[in-house]
């Protein structure tokens, strides 16, 4: 498969931090990973395993110390800050544990924020935003503020926001961490639905049960992918692989 067709291709990615000016911490020690389009990947691991660092790198929030990272066939591992920001906005949709909506903006305005930074005319995408809000079931809450919404509703706004630029990849970091199991379930089903529609998902979680919904579960330890479990019965798997 030509590299352009991979959503993510990590080649011997290393990340080292200098702590307190002396102690060097190796967060990632040469990770290789390929994520193909339409797949649903869960990353698990205890804290300190390099999970967060991995997520930041995949999300283009950080650059690796060594190794190369192709996002949709484009090498982003050495990109300057501005281009990296653009890649983030264009190719990645973030879903955070604590929703991370902007408090002073309404639902519809929050969904529009990523458009703004791509230099797109917000008014031309009015319909698209409304449609996304409808898809996540919030069409009657367009002009509410985040603090007027429940946690589940806020997370659904965040999902709509993640989709607005039609990204290559949805990156979800403990998306149900702050939710009760019922609303968490709803959010996960929404993510499954996105995957069923062909979106590539990378999800970071602590929860074994959530991870079972994914195609592939990567277990990380000490800055490396320790083992990988391919889960044919994953909830998302049902949509893409024949039984």
């Amino acid at each position: 498969m030509p590299p352009a067709h991979d959503i993510i291709r990590l080649e011997r990615i290393e990340k080292r931090y200098i702590l307190g000016g002396e102690v060097e911490v190796r967060a990632l020690c040469g990770v290789d990973l390929v994520v193909t389009p339409g797949s649903y990947v869960a990353i698990m691991g205890p804290s300190g395993s390099g999970k967060s660092t991995m997520l930041n790198l995949i999300g283009c929030l950080d650059r690796p110390t060594a190794g190369r990272y192709f996002l949709g066939g484009v090498d982003v591992s050495r990109m300057p800050d501005d281009q990296l920001s653009e890649a983030r906005g264009q190719r990645i949709g973030f879903i955070f544990q604590s929703y991370n909506l902007i408090a002073q903006l309404t639902v519809i305005e929050n969904i529009q924020v990523p458009l703004l930074y791509q230099g797109k005319d917000v008014r031309a995408h009015q319909d698209q935003c409304a449609k996304l809000a409808d898809m996540v079931g919030l069409s009657d809450r367009l002009h509410h503020r985040p603090n007027q919404l429940s946690g589940g509703q806020q997370q659904r706004v965040a999902i709509a926001r993640a989709l607005v630029n039609d990204p290559l990849l949805i990156l979800a970091d403990e998306p149900t961490g702050n939710l009760d199991s019922h609303t968490g379930q709803e959010v996960l089903e929404l993510i499954d639905h996105l995957n069923a529609q062909g979106k590539t998902i990378v999800l970071v979680t602590h929860d074994e049960r959530i991870a079972t919904r994914a195609h592939r579960v990567l277990h990380m330890r000490d800055g490396l992918i320790e083992r990988e479990v391919v889960n044919r019965n994953g909830a998302a798997g049902r949509g893409t692989t024949p039984p």
Binding site: D81, S85, G89, P114, Y117, R123
Partner: protein, 430 residues
């Protein structure tokens, strides 16, 4: 609207929204700029007004004129008091006038004036006034206009006519009920026929008298032909004083030299001084050059403006520091928002713009309110005091411009600090 300007508009709207989130804080921050801008405008308006009054008074003297006045010499004043019956002779003479006219280049006209303080009587009314003996063109040089009747004429001068012209104010005091024209009034031992009333050209009443800085009110003048003043009052004036009689011999009290233009004034001033110095052994005259006074007043005004301007600029600076302080706090407070925006694709310059726009909205908003208050404040001052205030357009522009500049200068650092934040760190911020 193209996307770029739309983006700008939405950035401004976002900035306003963020500011409205903390209304009190934004208002207090603005207050610094409001006071700054307001004080710049108000101070300059008061300064401008004060110097305008002084300048107008000087301009009235005529910038093309050189005024020479007789002064009683200090050393002779004592002798006069002691020496009974001896008359003190000092001051300008007709010869001085003639010499200036003939020898100094650029002279247009030389106006001699005799000023005598006397009581003027009509019926039972007696009013203290100044009797000015002068020539018909006095009116042009000093800037008078005829209210009723006529001014003095060449014929009056030639024929030693006992006619007089009153200033409007004096006429009112002397003739509360009658028409002053063609009445006869008595000054000293002689009667004069009133032929006209004059007033100052396009100026309100009770201004200082032209030709005199510290000024009697012009309102109290009575004009007679120079020849009449000379023959009726004589050159020796005797005045009763505590120790007896005082006699003075003064030919002319004042000579106003009208020059061709302002350059001629510059050149003529030292020449006149030299000329007079040669014929006057005593220091019994002084020259007033309105043009020089005007220049001095302008110089003073410039210094005044610089001082006031710097005080006001300092208050704007303090306002700016206040803004910067608040914006730094805001950046810290909104670190997480910055992280979110960065994750959603905002470049550094987007973040810089967002915070810079907020600061500029604060400072320009404060500037606008400051301009409004600053324009009203001098009017209030002028209304409740006798001070004159003049609001100049440039001071408004200056104050507003500085407030905008303050916003950009003091907003840049916090905005840059916000943009420099590491997105990962910012997202982790609680």
């Amino acid at each position: 609207m193209n996307p770029l300007s739309f983006q700008f508009v939405s950035t401004v709207r976002l900035g306003m929204k963020s500011l409205m989130l903390h209304k009190l804080r934004s208002a207090l921050t603005m207050l610094g700029i409001i006071f700054g801008v307001c004080s710049v405008i108000a101070m300059l308006a008061i300064g401008e007004g004060a110097s305008y009054e002084a300048q107008e008074a000087i301009k009235k003297l005529g910038s093309q004129n050189i005024i020479i006045r007789s002064v009683k010499p200090a050393e002779d004043a004592k002798q006069a008091g002691v020496g009974r019956g001896s008359s003190l002779e000092y001051g300008l003479t007709y010869h001085d006038g003639a010499r200036i006219q003939t020898t100094v280049p650029g002279v247009v006209r030389v106006l001699p004036v005799r000023i005598i303080r006397e009581n003027v009587r009509f019926a039972q009314n007696s009013v203290a006034c100044q009797v000015l003996g002068t020539l018909p063109f006095y009116m042009d040089i000093v800037g008078l206009e005829v209210a009723r009747g006529r001014f003095l004429t060449e014929t009056d001068e030639r024929n030693h006519e006992n006619v007089c012209v009153l200033t409007a104010g004096l006429a009112q005091r002397l003739f509360p009920y009658q028409d002053p024209l063609e009445q006869s009034i008595k000054v000293d031992a002689f009667y004069y026929r009133v032929v006209g009333l004059v007033r100052e050209k396009n100026l309100p009443e009770h201004r200082t008298q032209a030709g005199r800085m510290e000024g009697e009110p012009l309102d109290n003048n009575l004009y007679v032909p120079l020849s009449v003043s000379r023959s009726r009052f004589g050159e020796v004036l005797i005045r009763r004083s505590a120790s007896g009689f005082e006699a003075e011999k003064v030919e002319l009290h004042q000579i106003t030299v009208q020059m061709r233009d302002m350059e001629a004034v510059e050149a003529a001033d030292p020449q006149i001084k030299t000329l007079l110095g040669r014929f006057h052994t005593k220091n019994d005259y002084e020259t007033i050059v309105p043009l020089q006074l005007l220049r001095q007043a302008e110089q003073t005004k410039r210094i005044f403006n610089i001082v006031l301007g710097s005080i006001a600029a300092i208050s704007l600076l303090v306002g700016g520091i206040g803004i910067m302080n608040i914006m730094l706090a805001t950046v810290t407070e909104r670190t997480r928002e910055i992280g979110i925006r960065r994750a959603l694709g905002a470049k550094r310059r987007h973040i810089t713009m967002q915070f810079l726009v907020e600061t500029v909205v604060l400072s320009v908003g404060g500037g606008l309110i400051g301009v409004a208050v600053g324009v009203v404040a001098p009017l209030v001052v002028a209304h409740f005091t006798t001070m004159k205030t003049i609001i100049t357009l440039w001071s408004v522009g200056l104050a507003f411009g500085i407030s905008g500049a303050v916003g950009i200068i003091f907003g840049l650092y916090p905005a840059k600090a916000a943009a420099r934040l590491d997105p990962i760190e910012a997202l982790r911020h609680e």
